[in-house]
Subunit: 365 residues, 2 copies
């Protein structure tokens, strides 16, 4: 068995220690005589798994008590609908910032619910290679919320400064930067993330909601499926129906792994160091191009290309011989993408840059 | 490590062979150098996993070509909303048969969408201990569908004869009897099941939909989240967003296990034999009571009680010493429940009955 350097944007690399623990516990979790997959979600044993997971996440992110945390199914994409369904008041009005594919999709979903949803800033003009200035946006007094996708997986950009929402709740899709660095939770109304990028297996989203934003049924504007109502999930402590217990179990292990690594400050330091190796090389490369505005670079997803599709394909193919896999860029932008999440070791990034140098030498004419 | 006899109603016992394979492949699935949990859902390797899973399921259930199969998140509970959202025409009218907790919940969810949804038969009068006569129900010409929960996990009943729907599409929640015996798919409009009872880990539902019932966006009556639209998932072959890839992988293994066991005919034979051991004993027992009408008994969930709550609690506690766990009944009915799904070996049922006999001898006064 040989492990590879897996640069997938998601599902993505997980800590090897976590995988080994999961394998060891597969037939008998903690003396229960069964796998977590076989265990009723109403048992004390599973209750401890989910409660520990929430407690560790709260600890790692320093989540204040007036924020609720839920573990739900359907991925971030289901939250694209849950956000307007749960947050819209009679105004049915919200401001979206368009910085890539996923904020665009979130906007389109919200638009299905209300015509008064609008894009207040966009970086579409330069193919989403930057984050627009959000210091003075046309946010209205009756906007229910302001929406961002904080890290743009496909385009390799990130909000390093949060928008000035003029007092309106900020809703952030943090899927591809979740737990990559410390965040000040108090600056957000709602944070959510599909965990399959930086934290765990696919099939689970974590939603963190400021208490005062939670609506009673009577205040919801649309016919909202019970499972999509945040209040249902909050009241039931994520156990309204059977949750994705396996994913919660794995995420719980990853939270503990992050703590053991030194928490989010340490993750940030490690992630910045990894990203620096790649960006430093890209700045000097005469073959590879990265178009992203320097101050908006993501430290999770680094995109690059040669400008020649055939050469890009050759790079992706040859990379495999160096144990470097899932490095192809998203179909919307082409080229390559290195997703260097928490669990990607610095050795993986170094191996990638070493190969890029070698490839440049051989292919630069 | 010692495995237990796990009578949980779900998540529930899985084949040990499947768990062992999953543990062995945890760090390196099929030479990919990574876990399935780490693998992009857009890779050829995962594509084969999901395509094989669908092909094996179609084979096992003998699903005709004019039925679509999707793997979705949110459990059966999300389908309680998806059913009216996807199936209602302008009539917004449907007939529900109430045979327990989950059909009641499904009805209540549908009621949120339309006042014209109604219960056309119920066994509530006798605490859901039987399946009502459904040979001549007040189904209207403009009903969009007729809804049942085919096996009632909490109450231990099952439809052994499907309702006469007078030509309307039958929608069946098969969560707790899915793949327990052969079914004639052509008798249904829609079959769906949360897999965490008889098939796999929690976090995945399988929906089987007759082609002619799939609606275009323009024909949907309600503002339906993209992720809840069956057509979205069908068109994207369950890959509209990142699916619960781990659960699909495990279910795929279970489908292959079922085939290796001889398919659904063999499962049925084995399941009936296991249920017979329990019911035969219950019929002769002077301590344990099973109220379910004989012809409506479930072969998946067998409920029983002593009629004395303290004695029930004593039974549950002492059962643990015999390696018999998660045998407590649902809080709605109390007593005990033995869920004897496909992966429960006959030895487990025998061990349970042996203990019941012993307990009866010691506690019958």
């Amino acid at each position: 068995m040989s492990r590879v350097y897996n640069f997938s944007a998601g599902p993505a690399v997980l800590p090897e220690e976590v995988l080994k623990e999961a394998a060891n516990e597969m037939l008998d979790y903690d003396g229960s005589g069964m796998s977590i997959m076989e265990m009723s979600h109403r048992t004390k044993t599973f209750d401890k798994v989910i409660q520990d997971a929430e407690a560790d996440l709260r600890d790692v992110m320093n989540i204040p008590d007036n924020y609720k945390v839920i573990f739900v199914q359907g991925g971030a994409t289901t939250q694209f609908a849950a956000v307007p369904m749960n947050l819209m008041s009679k105004n049915q009005k919200a401001a979206y910032i368009e910085t890539g594919n996923f904020s665009k999709k979130a906007f389109q979903e919200a638009k299905m619910f209300s015509d008064k949803v609008r894009v207040v800033a966009s970086s579409k003009d330069k193919n989403y290679t930057y984050i627009p200035d959000c210091s003075n946006l046309p946010i209205d007094e009756d906007d229910d919320y302001v929406y961002i996708c904080e890290n743009n997986t496909i385009f390799g950009t990130k909000f390093h400064t949060l928008p000035n929402t003029k007092g309106k709740p900020l809703v952030s899709d943090q899927s591809s930067c979740f737990l990559s660095e410390p965040v000040d939770v108090t600056k957000y109304g709602v944070i959510y993330a599909g965990v399959q990028k930086n934290v765990g297996p696919a099939g689970l989203a974590i939603v963190i909601i400021r208490e005062d934003l939670i609506k009673e049924d009577a205040d919801l504007q649309f016919k909202t499926p019970t499972m999509l109502k945040w209040k249902t999930q909050i009241d039931a402590k994520s156990l309204y129906n059977t949750p994705n217990s396996w994913a919660i179990y794995i995420c719980g292990k990853v939270f503990k792994w992050i703590k053991a690594q030194g928490g989010l400050e340490a993750m940030k330091k490690k992630n910045e160091a990894k990203a620096k190796i790649l960006y430093d090389y890209l700045e000097t490369s005469k073959l590879f191009i990265n178009d992203v505005r320097k101050e908006d670079r993501s430290i999770m997803n680094v995109v690059f290309r040669t400008g020649n599709e055939e050469l890009d394909a050759k790079f992706v193919a040859e990379a495999k011989n160096h144990n470097i896999v899932t490095i192809k860029g998203h179909r919307l932008v082409g080229g390559m993408r290195a997703s260097i999440y928490n669990a990607m070791p610095v050795e993986g990034v170094q191996a990638l840059v070493d190969f890029m140098r070698e490839f440049e030498k051989e292919n630069l004419k």
